[in-house]
């Protein structure tokens, strides 16, 4: 009983860590590579996430720029960092901060889905803005990396079981570890 529980705990952490690592790796091409190609009255742009935000701000769309910055850069980064923290703490075992950490987990779970805003934006633009010669928007490979990073982060968060925050890794020493 205990053994199977231990194995599942170990598996659980390992699974979440692997997915989080994969998400972190995918964030690199997601931020380096262009995500969107737009052509508007002869003006052509190939934007990465960051250059897109800079472009939005330069053209006076401050609010939009800030929203995209939060959704596309800040949230994925904070979420991965938060998850990494949770995983490291869980590896060590409970240290009396189980409650705030669980709260952090819940918050991470809620905000993560908003990262898909960028993917949605690109998909939406590519689908709607197709006026041939005059205006055109096409997705670029970076958005696939970004989507993969977001999905992997969500999967990692799902794979992480907050119960491990409350349990002792050895299992045997504490009676409270029984489920």
């Amino acid at each position: 009983m205990k053994n199977s529980h231990l194995v599942s705990r170990k598996k659980n952490l390992s699974r979440a860590s692997a997915l989080a690592l994969a998400a972190a790796i995918m964030l690199v091409p997601a931020n380096l590579l262009p995500v969107l190609y737009t052509q508007n009255a002869g003006k052509i742009r190939t934007d990465t996430i960051f250059s897109g935000i800079v472009g939005l701000c330069q053209e006076g769309w401050w609010v939009l720029g800030v929203i995209v910055f939060i959704a596309s850069i800040l949230i994925p980064l904070l979420k991965l960092l938060g998850l990494a923290w949770l995983l490291i703490v869980a590896q060590r075992g409970p240290d009396g901060r189980a409650r705030p950490l669980t709260r952090l987990y819940v918050v991470l779970n809620i905000i993560g889905r908003w990262s898909m805003l960028d993917v949605f934006l690109v998909t939406f633009l590519s689908g709607v803005v197709q006026f041939g010669l005059f205006a055109k928007a096409e997705p670029r490979i970076g958005i696939a990396a970004f989507a993969a990073a977001v999905v992997l982060t969500v999967m990692a968060t799902e794979a992480f079981d907050p119960h491990v925050l409350w349990e002792h890794p050895a299992g045997a020493s504490s009676p409270s570890s029984a489920k």
Partner: protein
């Protein structure tokens, strides 16, 4: 029970299968980045006096009919005199950007000597390049027109001196027995402005028709002769009627050696009296068995 007496003990694998996922992510991620940066060739800037029809992101650079780059940006120079066109070359075409390369914009052109660039009516204009031979470069000046083909395989160039240009235009036919065997490539005034220099090119299979003693004359336009016994109208081919044209013939007698590239001739205003009766036998080489063109180290006298 036997099964419980000897339970099969397995250890959870130290590296569960899920760790394949980050490895996969690493592989895919690096492939994406590599692909992006390996495909990028150099960026070059070309100055045009007029960039009509050139659209950023749409206009491509073609060489031998193959797309080798894409226009990234079109903008006016700071002093509003020229248009700067920025082109990103494909990786495999980077070697085209060398000093001496010539760029021009291909528009549809309909003339009496034919229709060219017709596909650009639909696709829009495109840039064309004739690669240079110098060291790699990134800034070029565009040409107004397509430069004449420098390709030696296309025949031999000759220089004609005339006292007037007449109705000769670039592309006007050079005819032998009223058959087109070449064309006018360029014309300009001589240095002392006493004559007009016309460069013609005779196509490969016919190059040997031009001997060192060949006579050239202008056939442009109609000629009308009124006499007591009636009128005589001489018309050249329809093409040369409008564009002007040049004809040549070689006198009978001992065959002079073939004229070399860039040999100079006098362009007569009229055919020598008995030119149509001249019938020296000159073998014509088909492109397949043509002798190798004579190697000449001198530069082409003038470039249009």
């Amino acid at each position: 029970m036997k099964a419980t007496d000897n339970p099969k003990v397995t250890r959870a694998p130290s590296l569960p299968l899920v760790w394949v996922v980050p490895l996969l992510a690493l592989a895919i991620g690096s492939w994406m980045i590599l692909r992006e940066y390996l495909n990028h060739g150099p960026e070059i800037t070309i100055e045009f006096a007029n960039a009509a029809g050139v659209v950023a992101g749409k206009t491509v650079l073609e060489y031998k009919g193959v797309t080798v780059g894409e226009v990234q940006n079109v903008e006016l120079d700071k002093d509003l005199k020229v248009v700067e066109v920025r082109v990103r070359l494909n990786k495999d075409a980077a070697a085209l950007a060398r000093e001496g390369a010539e760029f021009w914009i291909v528009h549809p052109e309909i003339g009496l000597s034919g229709v060219s660039g017709l596909e650009t009516l639909v696709t829009g204009a495109y840039l064309a390049i004739q690669p240079g031979l110098g060291p790699p470069a990134s800034e070029f000046k565009g040409k107004e027109q397509a430069p004449p083909p420098l390709n030696k395989e296309l025949g031999r160039a000759f220089l004609l001196q005339s006292n007037k240009l007449g109705s000769l235009t670039t592309g006007a036919p050079v005819e032998f027995r009223e058959m087109k065997v070449g064309e006018v490539e360029a014309s300009q005034l001589s240095d002392d402005s006493t004559r007009v220099l016309i460069r013609i090119r005779v196509y490969t299979p016919y190059v040997d028709l031009v001997r060192t003693n060949t006579q050239f004359w202008n056939v442009g336009g109609l000629s009308l002769k009124l006499g007591l016994l009636g009128a005589q109208i001489n018309t050249p081919s329809i093409e040369s009627l409008f564009q002007g044209g040049i004809a040549f013939a070689t006198p009978d007698g001992d065959l002079a050696p073939p004229a070399l590239d860039n040999t100079q001739f006098i362009l007569n205003n009229e055919a020598p009296g008995d030119a149509l009766k001249w019938q020296p036998k000159i073998p014509v080489h088909t492109p397949e068995n043509a002798p190798p063109p004579p190697i000449h180290s001198g530069q082409i006298p003038f470039v249009h």
